[in-house]
Amino acid sequence: MAYTEEELKKELETKEYEYGFYTDIESETFPIGLSEEIVIAISKKKEEPEWMTLWRLEAFKHWKEMVEPEWANVHYEKPDFQAISYYSAPKKANPNKSLDDVDPELLEMYKKLGISVDEQKKLQNVAVDIVMDSVSVATTFKKTLAEKGIIFCSISEAIKEHPELVKKYLGSVVPQKDNFYAALNSAVFSDGSFCYIPKGVRCPMELSTYFRINQAGTGQFERTLVIADEGSYVSYLEGCTAPSRDENQLHAAVVELIALDDAEIKYSTVQNWFPGNKEGKGGVYNFVTKRGLCEKNAKISWTQVETGSAVTWKYPSCILKGDNSIGEFYSIAVTNNYQQADTGTKMVHLGKNTRSTIISKGISAGKSQNSYRGLVQVNSRAENARNFSQCDSLLMGNECGAHTFPYIEVKNKGAQIEHEATTSKIGEDQIFYCNQRGIDTEKAIALIVNGFSKEVLNKLPMEFAVEAQKLLEISLEGSVG
């Protein structure tokens, strides 16, 4: 690690790399490929302390020995991990600047995506930490939050400013070697969000992060860490959009939630990454590890609306460690055209009187495949554990598939587990009925789908629910001819 910045730059410049811009914003992209040097370079670039560099290297060491999982019900060409550039930062970005200093072109792009920061600031009670191609470029509401002692910043900033918290909790729920993608993320994560809610504080607003992948050929490796200290509450929103791209893009994020005694975390996601075109070309590979840990009397709710990505591999989970803790998972997964989704949750009951609820709604159209995969595990000392699972599938057309893979492992006789599953199809009769009342087919499908998804949509914060509803409509446009 005796590299100097200059030496590094020189060496990197001599390697070939692909380069392609979407906007005119000048980016700084690393050469393609992954090695110990690149991991060190990323850490150095981000001016990280040595412990962080070592942490990354350890992850990289594990990753090298791991193989990509193949058990999911998805089929795709595996990414060539040596053909990806692992770091791309908008050059002009500076996290310490105020919004006014942010590149107007960037802001313009957000506006196009319907993510107007100005508007958000004024109209909505939402603090936004925007992540674009890896580096956080704007944080709003910071001051208001700071008054309550809430820390909401980029993970890079947290590594420098709050090392004691990061050191203690990073990797505590999703260890470096948890799985192939989590190990990769741990080695090369470029940025992400960090949030800490102090004891007894109720976060006065919804915290929100927008992720998007901007540059072609760059993997996106976000790292999110949310810590709710004893008796605190936070609602966190995460939304994603991405412009169209021809080649597959890899996204391997890790989200860790820690809810200490009596704390509550609500984590809502709307994911709308490029799903590939109608022929199934392109699209994002979304391989995400999300997990939360509940201490005593704590509660974690995951709510997700997944409409994008070519391939989704995602299981937001809860470790119900503390007695009386509660885990919830509400999910809507929509697949259309050639999309494939294998998504669900894991509820691991360790403490006494732990409760979990799983409501999963899968909607398949086109030639897509939509799988629910869930694990309910009750350990031997988890007295009186309760779980309720409901998995509903809605099919549109004759060429798509819906699959349910529920796993139940119970080692305590006092457990009570319920599982319900339904599969239905949007019928021509339903469509004609709506048509006859003056509702065209597109709108009829939206209405039926929204009705089907209502239980989950209701769990989203108001402004997010409206957005999600629109997204469902857009995602299924043209799915019935």
Partner: protein, 250 residues
């Protein structure tokens, strides 16, 4: 208002309607009767524009406008309403939400803004009272878990909300007990005016005691074999359909 000329329609190459002629003027009530499989429901579906039926000959026009190229929703926007024999369920969509969507979609087609929530509420209150519908009923998922009678009453409630020019009631009386029948019929009668028209499709005379038709037509083998005044319904009730079948066979 409605003019059907020499209408032939088939489903999967099987001809069901074989040359129907019918004219319904504004302010009139027509009853279409006939044995099972005579084509009554098909006629209703064809007027509403259901795509699985292919019109092979003839025409349907509404207020002088040929409906041939109009989609089901366009026909609805022009004022055609069909009360279904078997209304479908739509889970998670409340009656209120469904009606709101239907009304606003029709308004949109006419270039109008969405109906203000205040007006919508007023309309709902007014029409639900007309049909003696409990307000709680309106927050339930459309037709899900409804009894036969509730489904039919809900159909007429929708008719009341949408105020169509031409309402076709397909076997609205089936599954209704006598009290429900009276309420539904009463609703239809109150909605009747000199500007709209109603076609009642039924097996039995019973409903026609409450909704009194100006004309009665008997459908058999895809053709109207006899037309008459309201006394024709009574005659059918008395004699059954067999005498007609024999008569037409000659």
């Amino acid at each position: 208002m409605l003019k059907i000329e020499n209408l032939h329609a088939s489903v999967e190459d099987k001809e069901i309607l074989r040359g129907i002629n019918l004219e319904v003027k504004a302010g009139e009530v027509h009853a279409i009767m006939g044995p099972n499989g005579s084509g009554k429901s098909t006629l209703a579906s064809v007027i509403a524009g259901k795509e699985e039926f292919e019109v092979t000959e003839g025409s349907v026009s509404l207020e002088g406008e040929d409906l041939e190229d109009a989609s089901p929703e366009e026909r609805a926007h022009k004022g055609v309403f069909l009360s279904f024999q078997y209304p479908v369920e739509i889970p998670g969509v409340s009656v209120t939400n469904f009606m709101k969507t239907a009304i606003n979609e029709s308004r949109k087609a006419k270039g109008l803004e969405d109906m203000p929530a205040k007006d919508m509420l007023k309309l709902i209150r007014e029409k639900s009272e007309l049909l003696e519908i409990d307000r709680k009923f309106l927050s339930r998922s459309l037709n899900q878990g409804f009894s036969g009678g509730e489904k039919k009453r809900n159909e007429i409630f929708q008719m009341a909300m949408l105020e169509p020019k031409l309402a076709i009631l397909d076997e609205t009386d089936s599954g209704l007990d006598i009290d429900a029948l009276r309420i539904v019929a009463n609703g239809v009668n109150k909605l009747k005016s000199k500007d709209n028209a109603v076609i009642v499709i039924t097996h039995y005379q019973r409903l026609l005691d409450y909704i009194v038709p100006d004309f009665v037509h008997v459908l058999h083998n895809g053709k109207i074999v006899k037309s008459g005044g309201k006394e024709l319904a009574l005659e059918l009730e008395e004699k059954g359909y067999d005498w007609l079948k024999q008569e037409t066979a000659v």
